[in-house]
Symmetry: D2
Subunit: 370 residues, 4 copies
């Protein structure tokens, strides 16, 4: 059904890692309060329209940009590449794909040099750069750590209607799938892909897209994530917690999802595993497995499935959405037409009966209520 | 409306702490698997009908008894008193109250000597003892610790229809209230009471009673509680997790609620605070404060409000229930007739509108959906 | 040899807990930097000569006073008693003992009302009070927590030449011994005593005295203690770390010892166990057991044994020292005349040979080098 | 002075990561007890002479081999390469270097296929392989985790007399230096080098060599390392703890060093940082900085500097040692001819005086005593 994105004849750029996201926010002061005063990201540089933030272990200029703008959106998913030549390679790669491409030798934002921005075949604003200002790596600056200190940017997560098409495109770009969620009919609901040897640099989540699902920052330990929740409670901002904290099935990481003042979703994440071997075994989860998204079987709140951020094209206009036509993960797992199981064998003995949710009560905890 | 329980002329026994609960379970092997193999409680002694369990830091014979029986129920909430004479005092106290009282010099269960069991004025089977076999305190036996090791019994929680009446009775028995949940009209939804200087040895939760809401064990740290969740996931028993993990508002402790194979509710709990000064300030929470039960504002699952265990009288028969006539906490906080707020000032500006749930969406996260 | 301290005919005051210490410091700014900026104790009140500090979970006015003075010393070990009448009881008790006693209805320091200070029979400046200003318990103020947040005052530790004499006096005052260190000849090297049901409110450590060995504050978890070390490293103040972090054998707690700018020793401490039952089993450690002071067998630095703070009498003059005549713990465990073992059975097979340190190398890690 | 190792004309193999170490042990049962019963490594396969062990997150056959043999030694430092062709590349690379080389298509040990072993120019037995049996990644098997669970092999550490020579050789082999220890005269005492993007896959430590300093396994969190110490205490094996736990300056990781029954040194390690960018800033530590090896300034025990394991040549014979002629890190930092500082500015004001240790007392904590 979906048309495959062609493979350019020129080599893909050698991507190191997801490096930063540029967020457009509608009230810069409120957003700064959230990211700096609540989440304790470190300010590298700021002016009246823009705040450049980094995590404790970062040595490049920033991992997150907050830029004042008219509507909440994502202006760039930015990847660092291995060399200056890889910026050339990225430009050539996307030009051959026929995408909108803008190259700026002086960079699009402070702290970053020669860069190329493209609107990729899935509609996302991707950036590739090598040149960057080095700043102090604050890893040893324990005098600056807060109880919930964010130490690294970990990954992006993108919403796109056709996950297999997106995966194929990303694999050509050099990414490797580490985990995914499917059903027995082969529908793919989401896939996790990496360049650096963690579970992902980005994931593709099935839904109307292109949209940005979340950007994730890592902490050292699980208690750091709990401390963020505790602080949000103390500040009477607990409604910024959308989902979690919990343990993911996929990735095995400990997680928390927050919504910033504009509704942009932020994940706080810790302790996935090494995936750097080329034969790293892919983990495929059954979409009906109630532990796939939360290993403890806690329910996924509907907004987590339905909400995501607008992305901008290279002129700064919102990219219009394409609807997902494959099944929706929410629909097949909860509600009248879905089911989830804790123990597959329990579910299998019941499979005949799964025409509705009425008999789903013994199989999982809360999902059927949401 | 409710009749106050009279104050006996004889002194109340000097109670040290909640010491153990005797649970009747319908499948001893399944229950043993849960408490020993999953939760890693330590077996002090067992036979074909009974398993005596203790936590890592305990030096008395047991903190939990599993006894095979025909229906799932609670046979005893057992408190340790300061001296042998306090067992006499307890007997005299409850005899004057006109309660059913049974005294056994040899004890009702293994490991415990001279004891008295009563069915108290609220209908609960309470036990008081001093004599007990000492066993090895396993506190230093780190070779026996599991990642989720339970180190102490912390408290009981009882469901009773009339909380102020229950509190008055317990205060006469020597307990002190540390925290409670009320509304602006003075309805009391729950109260926490202590003998040892923690937030509680038992709590009274408003509902049809007498029933047992839960028994709680403490871990050293929060990660121990997360490890229990992770293990339940690995064993495909995540549906044993009913609520949490999370941070309580009340008590400030980190918590998790599990349901055992019979549905008995177990809390895992860590890090409340010292309450031993006589003028320890009582904390009163507004029932509409969405952070009172979960500091992070995560929703309380309805079963947590509605389900509780049967308690037995001294002949081993289920005690029949008295209905709560005061408002229900669940009803006033979620659903069509309830509301909850994250920020009181937000709620206050809206108070006129709270005739229904339709406009509650901005005020709290998930509660309105449950 | 030692003369027993007589038991007064009047009852001892009912002591709740160790409540605060008054420290005299020689450079208030430096001390404030240490306790406020480094250790993040909370300032309740301050003026040019005095800083009143409390821990996160405290509701009384302070747990530590820093007072500018000519020499580094301890002006008071202060205990809270159960009632106003217990201050009278304390006054009567020490008057009968013939000690210097000063009663001040308005209190000796800000925030505290009617109090009595005594120089006790061991030479220590003890205070007893009930009346105190209540301040906000910051337990829920996670916006104020630092990674190494101190949540409670836990205990004092006092140096005194004759430990059995001191223990006998303290038991008469209502304290109970929870643990001690002895040798096979019955020499007592140290003893831990409690009022509140933790391992101790104070300990008696054998040495030239009276001196103050340390005052201890509790954290919630072990990582909080590690965070304090990390921060001291970042501030290039790691030489404030005297010993640890480590796990105690005695008390089973996790610990760290710091020295403040005047050399006053501060312990950071977490996770001992409940001791509130009257028959709580006393744990006696062999002085030669290399895991008694550090469960991991890490060496105790000599300064930890030899250094302690001067205490002041009620006129503010330093109390002169009485020498310990019993064996010194340091001498019997390390060096030419001492020995320590990891496994008692190893030591026993070698006991004949323990005339010197030369053959001690196989038995323990580092102690013999220090 | 030292002769540089030539650069082969053929390309170096593309090394993924350190993968396993083969240890020769003199009492297999004792070693198995240590690694399996104490450290809870998982047994993949074993027979009467050999035990194959892996960590919780590993999917290849093993990370550690214990093989019964006549003397305690290291038979192989084994690296995984990116492809089967890289094994050929490794063979060609070392053949051109003139090293002893053995290629075995069926592998040298169980679970590993086509491999090449070489005795490299520094004298170490290095192995390179790609083919390996996949086994279950136990990452999600929380039912098998112990409190101190080891989740990954992290790195090797090798003792060699001429660190710059070794670094140059390793850089040609494709490794990148992340951190090192030098003095103002340019003497290099140790260097850390990585292939995977952590601080290291191996380090070169200056000393008589070739010897194996340690092999390191990672835990998820710091409390896991503390739990290992606690368990060793409980088993009365605390003398297996050689150094730590503590925070490294170099690498910023939390660490613990153990000695196994043969004296082989094992590090337990957690939380270093991402180093995968090609311009990752190298951190150079001053050898006199007392926080370089322990961020908290705790002393390094002399055995940690002096002891290391014998390595074997390809015939299984011990490789004879070459003496270090550069300064020794221990000598320049502690003792009569060394000094260490906590604050460089303090040291600088004293530099003239550093002819001896007598005036070193104010500058660091304990080092001068060891």
């Amino acid at each position: 059904m979906s048309q495959t994105i062609p493979v350019p004849s020129v080599p893909a750029p050698d991507i190191l890692r997801c490096a930063y996201m540029e967020l457009v926010v509608t009230d810069l002061k409120k957003s700064r309060d959230f990211y700096v005063d609540v989440l304790d990201l470190q300010v590298t540089e700021e002016d009246e329209n823009t705040v450049y933030l980094r995590s404790m272990e970062e040595f490049i200029h920033h991992n997150l940009i907050l830029r004042q703008g008219p509507i909440a959106a994502v202006a760039a998913f930015s990847y660092r590449v291995r060399s200056p030549e890889d910026v050339d390679a990225a430009e050539a790669y996307y030009r051959e794909l026929g995408c909108p491409v803008v190259r700026k030798k002086e960079g699009f934002v402070a702290g970053i040099g020669d860069s190329v921005r493209v609107q990729d075949p899935l509609g996302f604003p991707y950036e590739f750069f090598y040149e960057v200002d080095h700043v102090e790596r604050l890893a040893w600056r324990y005098d600056l750590y807060s109880p919930g200190a964010l130490v690294r940017i970990d990954h992006f997560n993108q919403v796109t209607p056709d996950v297999p098409k997106a995966v194929n495109y990303m694999e050509n770009l050099g990414f490797r799938v580490t985990e995914d969620i499917q059903d027995d009919e082969g529908t793919v609901y989401a896939a996790w892909m990496r360049r650096k040897p963690t579970v992902h640099d980005t994931a593709m989540t099935g839904g109307d897209g292109p949209r940005m699902h979340h950007v994730a920052f890592a902490t050292h330990e699980k208690h750091n994530i709990l401390a963020i929740c505790d602080k949000l409670g103390a500040l009477r901002l607990s409604d910024a917690i959308e989902r979690g904290p919990g343990r993911h099935g996929v990735s095995n990481a400990f997680y928390l999802y927050l919504r910033d003042p504009d509704g942009h979703r932020i994940e706080i994440y810790t302790q996935d595993y090494y995936t750097g071997d080329p034969d790293n075994p892919r983990v495929t989860w059954d979409v009906h497995d109630n532990q796939r998204r939360d290993w403890w079987g806690n329910p996924v709140v509907p907004s987590w499935y339905t909400d995501a951020s607008t992305v901008l094209d290279l002129e700064g206009n919102p990219v219009s959405l394409t609807q997902r036509t494959d099944d929706s993960e929410m629909d097949v797992t909860i509600g009248a037409d879905g089911f989830s199981y804790t123990r597959r064998e329990d579910a299998e003995s019941d499979f005949g009966a799964h025409s509705g949710a009425d008999d789903g009560e013994d199989e999982f905890k809360l999902g059927h209520q949401l």
